[in-house]
Amino acid sequence: MSQALTPETILSLAPDAGSAANARKLATPGKWPSLNDTDGVLWGECQGSGKTPYLTAVDLSGPVAKCSCPSRKFPCKHGLALLLLHASHGSDFGSQPAPESIQTWLAGRQNREVQKAEGGQQKAEKEADPAAQAKRRAAREKKVTAGLEGLHLFLNDLVRDGLATASSRPYSDWDTQAARLMDAQAAGAARRVAHIPELLGDPAALLAHLGELALLAEGWTNREGLVENELADLRSALGFPLDAAGLLETEGIRSRWNVLGQALIQEETLTVRRQWLQNSDQTALLLDFAPAGRPLPPGLPMGQSVEAELVLAPSAFAQRAVLKGEARGSGPLTDLPPPLTLTAMLSAHADALARNPWLERAAYLLGPVRVLPGEPWSVVDETGGGLPLTEDVRPLLRLLAESAGEAVSVFGEWDGAAFAALNFWTGTPGGRR
C-alpha cells in the first residue's frame, strides 16, 4: 500500500486549472453518499448533475482514475476529489467491495498489462510502406534545406548592412522570415527568428542569437559530418518532431523513477507541460502539449516515485523521453543524487552544452541554497555566489513561507539565464518538509 499522497501532489495531476479548482470544492464528504477504500482501490459515489450519482474509482498504484461522468479529462474532478478526500478524511472511508463495473475495469487494466508484457507485435504490422516513408522524409528534408538556405542569406544580409540598422527594419521582415521557415517545416528555426525582435534593444545578445541561428543553418548544410546523436539534436532544434511511435518500439529503462518537478506553461494557443524524472544520474524530460482549452494527458504524481519504463530519445545529451506503458507503484522518493552547488550545476550545464549546443534547458537539484528576494530574486549557495531566478516569484514565496529563509534543496530548470524553481525540500529531499 502506498502512503497517502499530499494534496499538492494530487492537484499536480489535474489536467487543467479548472479541474483542480472544482476538485477542491467536491472534496467534502457531504457530496459523497459513499466512500470506500479496498485493497489500494478507492471508490465512491458523487452526486453530480444526473439523477444517478457518478461512480468514481481510483487505482492508487498509478494513480489512475475512472469515472462514470461524461468528462473527457483524465483524471476528472471526481477522481481528484476522491484522492483529496482520501488524504484529508481517510477515516470516513468504508471497506465495501467495489461494484462490478469497477472490478471489470481493474481486471481489464491487469489484462492489458499482461498483454503488453507478452509483446506488442501487432503494432509493427501497421508500419507504413518504408519506401513511401523514405520519400516523404526526403521531401521534407529538401524543404528544410531550401528554408535554411534562405535563412543563411537573410543572416548574411543583416551583418552586411550592420546590426545598427536592424532595429529600423519593419516588423514584417522578421515575421516574413519566420513564416518562410514555418512553411519550410523548420518550426524550431522559425521560433528562434520570431524571438529576434525581443533582442533588438540588446545588440550583444542579438549577435549571439544570430550566431546560434547561423550555426543551425550551417549544421544542416554539413549534417553528413555529424554522428547520429548530434544529428538528432540538430533535427530536434530545427523542429523535426520526435518519432515517439518509433521510440516506443524500442527497449526503455525500466526502473523506479523519481518525479521531481513539473512546469506548466500557458502559451497563446498551447499548454505545455514539462515533467522531470530522475533515476540515479539520468534526468528525463516528459513533454506534453494540449491545444488551448483542452486537457493535458494524465500526468505523474509530483514528489513521488513510480515504476515506469522510459525510452530516451537519441541525443548527445539525452534527456527527452517518452513513457512506455503506464507508470505504477507510486511511492516516496528514493535514491536521490546529492544536491549540487551553483558552480557544480554550471559546470554540469557547460558539459551538456558542449554535447548539444542547442540545448534550451536542463534540470538540476541544488542544495543547500537560499532564495533572496530582490530585483530579480536570486538563488544563493553557501559560497555566497548567486544566480538570478525567473520572474514568476509566486512559487518562491511558498518556498520562503515554509523555509523561513533557511537553506533548502531546490529542484528546477536552468536555461542559461535564470533558474526556475519547480520543487523544494526544507529537510532532506524526499523526507518530510
Binding site: P7, A21, R24, K25, A27, T28, P29, G30, K31, Q47, S49, G50, K51, L84, S88, H152, L155, N156, V159, R160, D161, G162, L163, T165, P203, A204, L207, A208, H209, L210, G211, E212, A214, L215, E218, L342, T343, L346, H349, A350, L353, P357, L372, S378, V380, D381, T383, G384, G385, G386, L387, V393, L397, L400, A401, E402, A404, G405, E406, R433
Partner: protein, 515 residues
C-alpha cells in the same frame, strides 16, 4: 576588449563597411582565428556563435546581496491537522471566514505552507474579512508579507508611515488624498483630527467633500471634538460640503446645530385645547406659526424661506436629531410621532432617524421605529426592513417569522442579513423549509426570471446566506420528492452538503480544543 565586443563593433557597422576584427590575447583567440568560412559575413556569424556558446557555458555565480532578516519565532501553535484538513476545500469559498474565525478563537495559526494562498485571498477581500485572517497568519505571515507588494495590506500602517504634509500629499490626486486621509484615520485618528483642523480649509471643494465622506464613514466618539471646525464649515462655499457637514452635525445630539434646530421647532409650536375625550386619550393638538423675529442663521443651517409653517416643520424634522428634538420639546417618542403625523411629516422623521442613528441603538430610537412602522406608506415602505433593524429583537423575529410564512422573500432576505451568525436552529430549519417550498418547481436558475415562479433572486440570495449563516446542525426538512426537477434537488443537496461540512468543521474544532 572582449571577443564579443570586438565582433559586435564590426557587426553593428556592417561588413559592407568594416573588415573582420582580429582576436588577440583572449582565451578564445586561437579558436576564433581558426573559424573561417567562404565569406566574411558567415565567418563573423560563426565566430559569434562560438563566443556566445562559450559565454553560456562559462558562466559563474555572481556575488549576491545579503540575505533578508530571518523569520521571527511563532507565538501561536499551529492549528492541528484535524482542522487544517478542511482548508483545501474551503479556501476561496464563502466558508473560509468562519473557519478562520474558529481558528483565531482557538488561538492557533495556519500552517506555513498555506500562507501564500491565504494572503492572496486577503488581497481580494474587504477589511471586515481581512480581520478574520489577520490573527491566524502568525509571525511568519507578517514576515512573508514584506516580500510581496500584493500583501502589504497585512503590515498595516503605523502613524509615522502616513505623511500628509509632504510632497506625497501635494502630488496626490483627489482620490489619492482621500486614500491618504483614510490611511491616516486608520493609523492614528487623533492625528487625523489635528490634520483636518489645520488643513481642511485650504483644500479644494472636491477634496473637502471627500474628506468629510471619509469622516462620516469612519466616525468615532472622539470626533465630537471637531464640532467647532464643522460648525464653521456650515458657511462653506460649496453646497455639497455644506449638506455633508449638516448631516455630520445632525448626528451629534449635543451639537449647537441641533440645539438651534430644536429651538426653532419649539418657537413654532403651540398647543390647542382638546376636549374632554381627547384629554382622556392623552391627545395633543399642536398649532404652528412662523416666528416673527428674523433668524440670522436660517440659511447657514440649510433652511429655505417658506410660505407655510408646516413646510418649515417638515424641513426641521428632516434635519434635526430626533433625540435632541424630543429633549427640547419635552416629548416622548409617541408625542414626536404624533406631531409628525399631524403635519404629514412621518417620512421626514424616518429619514432623520437614519441620518442620526448611531450604534448602539438608543431605546428612544427603537421606540420611534416601532411607532413609525405601521405608518409607512407609498415609496417609504422600503424603509420597513431598516426600521425593523432598530426594533427590539423579539419584535424583529416575529416579523421575520411572519415574512417567512407569508413567502415575502425580499423582507426575509433583508431581515436575515441583519441577524448575527449563526442563526438559531429553529429559524434555520424554517428557512430551509421555505427554500424547499420556493424551489421545488424550479427547473433551472432561470426560473428566477419567470414572474410566475416562486423561485426568485431574493430566495437565491437567502440560499447563499443560509450556506454560511444557518446553524449547521439545524434539522432539515425531508428532501424533495423524486420527481422534483434536478436543479431544485441539486441546489438543496449542495446547500446541505455545505452545511454538513460546516458541522464537521465545528465538531473538529470543538474536539481539538477540548484536548
Amino acid at each position: 576588449m572582449s571577443d564579443l565586443k570586438t565582433l559586435l563593433a564590426t557587426a553593428l557597422v556592417g561588413m559592407s563597411r568594416a573588415a573582420l576584427p582580429p582576436h588577440v590575447d583572449t582565451p578564445l583567440a586561437d579558436a576564433l582565428s581558426r573559424v573561417t568560412r567562404d565569406d566574411a559575413e558567415s565567418t563573423l556569424l560563426a565566430r559569434a556563435a562560438l563566443v556566445g556558446l562559450a559565454a553560456r557555458a562559462g558562466q559563474l555565480p555572481l556575488p549576491s546581496a545579503p540575505p533578508p532578516e530571518p523569520a521571527p519565532a511563532e507565538l501561536r501553535p499551529e492549528a492541528p491537522a484535524r482542522v487544517t484538513r478542511h482548508l483545501i476545500s474551503v479556501l476561496n469559498t464563502a466558508m473560509l471566514p468562519e473557519w478562520l474565525s474558529l481558528c483565531g478563537a482557538a488561538g492557533w495559526r495556519v500552517p506555513h505552507a498555506d500562507l501564500p494562498d491565504l494572503l492572496d485571498w486577503g488581497s481580494h477581500v474587504n477589511e471586515e474579512l481581512r480581520a478574520t485572517l489577520r490573527p491566524v497568519l502568525g509571525e511568519r505571515g507578517r514576515w512573508l508579507a514584506g516580500f510581496s507588494s500584493d500583501w502589504r495590506w497585512l503590515l498595516g500602517l503605523k502613524s509615522g508611515d502616513v505623511t500628509v504634509d509632504g510632497p506625497e500629499w501635494e502630488g496626490a490626486t483627489k482620490a489619492g488624498r482621500e486614500a491618504l486621509f483614510r490611511a491616516l484615520r486608520d493609523a492614528d485618528s487623533a492625528a487625523s483630527r489635528a490634520f483636518l483642523t489645520v488643513h481642511f480649509k485650504v483644500e479644494k471643494a472636491g477634496v473637502r467633500k471627500r474628506l468629510l465622506d471619509v469622516l462620516a464613514q469612519t466616525w468615532e466618539a472622539g470626533d465630537a471634538e471637531l464640532e467647532p471646525l464643522l460648525e464653521e464649515t456650515l458657511s462653506d462655499r460649496s453646497e455639497d460640503v455644506r449638506a455633508q457637514v449638516r448631516r455630520l452635525l445632525q448626528g451629534l445630539p449635543s451639537s449647537a446645530y441641533n440645539a438651534r434646530m430644536a429651538d426653532r421647532a419649539k418657537a413654532m409650536l403651540g398647543q390647542e385645547k382638546v376636549g374632554f375625550l381627547g384629554r382622556l386619550r392623552g391627545q395633543v393638538n399642536f398649532t404652528l406659526a412662523l416666528p416673527e423675529v428674523p433668524d440670522a442663521d436660517l440659511k447657514r443651517d440649510g433652511l429655505e424661506p417658506v410660505q407655510h409653517p408646516a413646510e418649515r416643520l417638515r424641513h426641521l424634522l428632516n434635519a434635526v436629531h430626533p433625540g435632541a428634538l424630543m429633549t427640547a420639546l419635552e416629548l416622548k417618542p409617541a408625542g414626536l410621532v404624533g406631531l409628525a403625523a399631524q403635519f404629514e411629516a412621518t417620512d421626514e422623521l424616518v429619514r432623520a432617524i437614519f441620518s442620526s442613528a448611531a450604534q448602539p441603538i438608543e431605546p428612544a430610537f427603537s421606540e420611534l421605529a416601532e411607532l413609525l412602522l405601521p405608518r409607512l406608506k407609498g415609496s417609504f415602505t422600503h424603509w420597513r426592513a431598516d426600521l425593523l433593524a432598530l426594533v427590539p429583537a423579539p419584535r424583529r423575529e416575529a416579523e421575520l417569522q411572519a415574512a417567512l410564512r407569508g413567502h415575502d422573500s425580499q423582507l426575509t432576505l433583508t431581515l436575515l442579513r441583519g441577524l448575527p451568525t449563526p442563526w438559531p436552529a429553529d429559524l434555520s430549519t424554517e428557512v430551509f423549509r421555505q427554500l424547499s417550498r420556493a424551489i421545488r418547481k424550479a427547473e433551472s436558475a432561470f426560473a428566477a426570471y419567470d414572474k410566475n415562479s416562486d423561485w426568485d433572486y431574493a430566495w437565491i440570495n437567502v440560499l447563499e446566506l443560509a450556506q454560511t449563516r444557518a446553524s449547521p446542525a439545524a434539522p432539515r426538512p425531508s428532501s424533495l420528492p423524486a420527481d422534483a426537477p434536478e436543479y431544485a434537488r441539486q441546489t438543496l443537496d449542495n446547500l446541505y452538503a455545505g452545511l454538513a461540512l460546516r458541522a464537521q468543521i465545528h465538531a473538529d474544532f470543538a474536539a481539538e480544543r477540548s484536548l
